[in-house]
């Protein structure tokens, strides 16, 4: 029997070539930027931008692995920031308490998604794309499109506390959260069951698991993550805006990065660290274009292009592996026939 060691498993994994690309791209960026990449200023821009993405990745990544999708995270995050800012402005409550209230509100949003999918049996794609619109609409209705300033100093600290001058504390927090999620996914029964449900819902049902319950937990967690991510975004921006998160579309960046990082869109495969690598890759690429003073109009195009190429390469390698397997089993059959 073959013994698999962790290193060779890692080398065979989908994340491995991506990490190589990531390192190579970072080095290239560093060189072409003539030293402007590893400056405290650029690091802060890059890492602050990723905080909301990494927090969202924790929720969306798990949902993708369970074979579902939530396209309303951007809307949920925006609505949460609006509710939070409104409460901060119009009530005397401590911001920490408002934070908790907003979190409960987020769980209610998650419950709505759950009901649509579990009870009314909408596919998660349809249900959440619809709700996304509802949430965004509510944001505009709340203030007729205006931003709400946030001036609770304690809260704003979350968006500007740095370690060593270049490392945002909220970024470290996001990484720790991701590590906890990855741990749960890899080492707990609940985490493994998510893979079972996503890998083959029928088999999961036949094995006595309850896919609906798993889905509910994930939708609730995801809404909570959307809320936390959104609020950390607001802390940086010092306000809540009905459009800024939607325009920046961190959720789309996360879904693209997750798939790039080997999380299967169809469920059942991948891991959050891979997703993180994918997200990092997209962000560094975007950052590189900005440092090189390439007009912003091109960055959207270029990011999409990288994604398309990466997905194509991924498809080709999967196809090749599938064909190799088919050929091997055909050869075995032929040998069998010749022998018998």
């Amino acid at each position: 029997m073959k013994k698999s060691n962790p290193l060779s498993t890692f080398a065979k994994s989908k994340s491995f070539p991506l990490i190589i690309i990531l390192v190579v791209m970072t080095v290239i960026t560093w060189i072409v930027s003539k030293g402007r990449f590893f400056t405290a200023g650029n690091m802060l821009t890059l890492l602050y931008g990723m905080v909301i993405q990494i927090i969202m990745l924790c929720g969306i990544g798990c949902i993708l692995i369970s074979g579902n999708i939530d396209l309303s995270v951007g809307g949920q995050a925006t609505l949460c920031t609006m509710v939070f800012a409104w409460l901060c402005k119009n009530t005397p409550l401590h911001w920490a308490l408002v934070f908790v209230v907003t979190l409960v509100f987020a769980l209610c949003l998650g419950l709505v998604n759950t009901l649509l999918v579990n009870k009314l049996r909408f596919p998660s794609f349809i249900a959440t794309i619809g709700m996304s619109s509802v949430y965004r609409g509510l944001c505009s209705v709340m203030t007729k499109g205006d931003n709400i300033q946030i001036n609770r100093q304690g809260f704003l600290l979350l968006g500007r506390t740095n370690l060593f001058g270049f490392l945002p504390a909220s970024f470290v927090f996001a990484i720790v959260v991701l590590a906890i999620f990855q741990f749960i996914m890899s080492y707990t029964r609940f985490g493994r069951n998510i893979f079972v449900v996503g890998g083959n819902p029928q088999a999961a049902r036949l094995a006595g698991l309850n896919p609906d319950r798993t889905r509910m937990v994930l939708f609730l967690v995801n809404s909570a993550m959307a809320c936390v991510g959104g609020l950390l975004w607001s802390a940086q921006a010092k306000m809540a805006s009905p459009t800024s998160i939607i325009t920046a579309a961190p959720d789309m960046m996360v879904i693209s990065g997750a798939i790039l990082g080997g999380i299967a869109f169809t469920g059942g495969a991948g891991n959050l660290v891979g997703g993180l690598v994918g997200v990092l890759l997209l962000n560094i690429f975007k950052n590189m274009l900005i440092i090189m003073n390439i007009p912003t109009y091109w960055t959207v195009f270029a990011t999409g292009f990288v994604l398309a190429v990466a997905l194509m390469l991924d498809y080709i390698s999967t196809e090749r592996r599938r064909k190799a397997l088919l050929a091997a089993s055909a050869a075995a059959e032929a040998a069998e026939a010749a022998g018998g």
Partner: protein, 506 residues
């Protein structure tokens, strides 16, 4: 441990179909019972009822003498029943160990943490028990099909079920693996499990089963002791149903000399050296069990699937079709097995569906000439007596029989010059009256000189309709029978014959 299972008066009705009717039999602990029957005899339905996937309309299942109702697969598991389906229920990206223990992964103490060491050890024990060479941490998707099947079997074994049903488990396995599996079943017998074994392979049935239950058209026709019966007797019991006047009233025509289709040494990943001919005006029946390669042959001729080697000649010319489009243009028409998925565009009108293959030729400038398309559809509706108020009705709203007529109408309209008509299970799920209409229409088309390749799992139908029958088995042609020799016994013998016996006869 030791449990018995009994089916008492089990019946299952679907709208318009009686899939099972008063099935009674009992499986004793420590015995293997074979469930035998033609395609569509009701074996799969019975297994679905046993697994808790579907509920019987009548009757009851008794486990250890106690009536038991299964509302879900989970209930069946709880009662100690596992059904191993032909379609594997695996998570390809997860490890062998996690697949086997899905839903019951061992944890440390009571906590949420997975006990990986125990998981892998337990899996290793199972793998050793079956004498396999698989790494418990290997991804299931990377295993060979045969090993994937073994994972499925280990899964049922792990659950410590007392009652296990296998649905054609050996189909994807090699000789060596079948041997291992049989040893496993032998061990299960010794442990007192009750086993139901569904297979078409006679040698397997005689080798490992103790009793045989034969189903036919949903009815339980016989229970026999394996040791006291013969292959010939089993086949006789499986066939021999009443053949009504449906066939004797058909107006038939004699085939012509001209060869329309000639297939020479056709090979694809699923077909091996398939060769046969179809003459003008001839109806050739393509018989065989499910998975024998009949549909694959049809799809290869129609260029729906690529061929590895071999030649296809149409009307005396060798063809090099690159796609179904080329095949259609050369006069080949295919009515596929799954009419809803592959035959029709369900949410378009009858007219659109009939014009589908010729829509390119109905264009006037940039637009489709609805008038001509309508004329084609009107003609098909009257030719085939399609029951619809208007040709604009959506195909999804028609009955199965009328849907099939729409497909037939499509391929026999004046706009398509069909020379070879391939019908794959054209009467599946269609009522008796419409079946008779379709049979007559097929005969009429043959009289017009069209060559017909008729694929069906219903033996009576093939035997009575075809001028000649080509029988397939395991991707190859196992024999040809002229109409005079086409009895169900002869066809089934060819369709099920084991290689060794065939060689002995030759």
């Amino acid at each position: 441990m030791a449990k018995t299972l009994e089916f008492r008066g089990i019946g299952k009705s679907y709208p318009g179909v009686r899939a099972l009717d008063n099935v009674n039999f009992k499986v004793e602990s420590g015995k293997v019972l074979a469930l035998l029957g033609e395609n569509g005899a009701g074996k799969s339905t019975l297994l679905k009822i046993l697994s808790g996937d579907q509920k019987p309309t009548d009757g009851e299942i008794l486990v250890d003498g106690k009536p038991t109702v299964f509302n879900s697969p989970h209930d069946a598991h709880a009662a100690g029943i596992s059904v191993i389906y032909q379609e594997r229920q695996l998570m390809p990206s997860m490890s062998v160990a996690e697949n086997i223990f899905a839903g019951a992964i061992p944890v440390k103490g009571k906590g949420p943490m997975v006990d990986w060491k125990k998981l892998y050890e337990e899996t290793k024990k199972l793998i050793d028990f079956f004498g396999l060479d698989i790494d418990p941490s290997e991804q299931v998707g990377r295993l060979s099909i045969a090993n994937q099947q073994m994972v499925e079997i280990m899964k049922a074994y792990r659950r410590n079920s007392d009652i296990i049903a296998y649905d054609e488990p050996t189909a994807p396995l090699s000789e060596k693996e079948i041997e291992l599996m049989f040893q496993g079943i032998e061990k299960q017998k010794q442990r007192g499990m009750a086993i139901i074994y569904v297979s078409h392979r006679m040698n397997e049935i005689f080798r490992i089963t103790d009793e045989i239950v034969i189903l036919k058209d949903g009815k339980h026709v016989a229970t026999m002791e394996t040791a006291k019966t013969t292959e010939a007797e089993l086949i006789t019991k499986m066939v021999g149903r009443d053949i009504g006047d449906t066939y004797s009233n058909l107006r038939r025509n004699t085939p012509k000399e001209e060869v329309v289709l000639e297939v020479k040494n056709l090979n694809t990943p699923k077909l091996h050296n398939v060769s046969f001919q179809v003459h003008a005006g001839e109806i050739v029946g393509l018989a065989g069990l499910v998975g024998a390669g009949r549909t694959e042959t049809a799809r290869a001729i129609f260029a729906a699937d690529p061929i590895t080697s071999g030649e296809i000649w149409l009307g005396g010319k060798q063809t090099h079709f690159k796609s179904p489009r080329d095949a259609i243009d050369a006069g080949v028409a295919l009515c596929p097995e799954d009419r809803k998925e592959q035959g029709l565009v369900m949410y378009r009108s009858i007219s659109d569906n009939i014009a589908l293959p010729v829509v390119e030729y109905l264009k006037k400038g940039l637009f489709v000439d609805r008038g001509i398309a309508g004329d084609l559809a009107d003609k098909a509706v009257s030719d085939y007596d399609i029951k619809t108020p208007t040709i604009m009705k959506l195909v999804a709203e028609l009955s199965g029989g009328n849907q099939q007529k729409v497909i037939l109408g499509r391929w026999t309209s004046d706009a398509v010059k069909t020379k070879l008509l391939i019908l794959d299970e054209p009467t599946k799920g269609i009522d008796v009256g419409t079946k008779a209409e379709i049979y007559q229409k097929v005969c009429d088309l043959a009289s017009e000189g069209i060559a017909v390749l008729f694929i069906s799992s219903e033996l009576t139908e093939v035997i009575n309709l075809a001028d000649r029958i080509v029988v397939m088995r395991g991707g190859s042609i196992s024999g040809e029978l002229p109409r005079a020799e086409a009895t169900e016994e002869n066809v089934l013998t060819l369709a099920m014959a084991d290689e060794a016996k065939k060689e002995a006869k030759a």
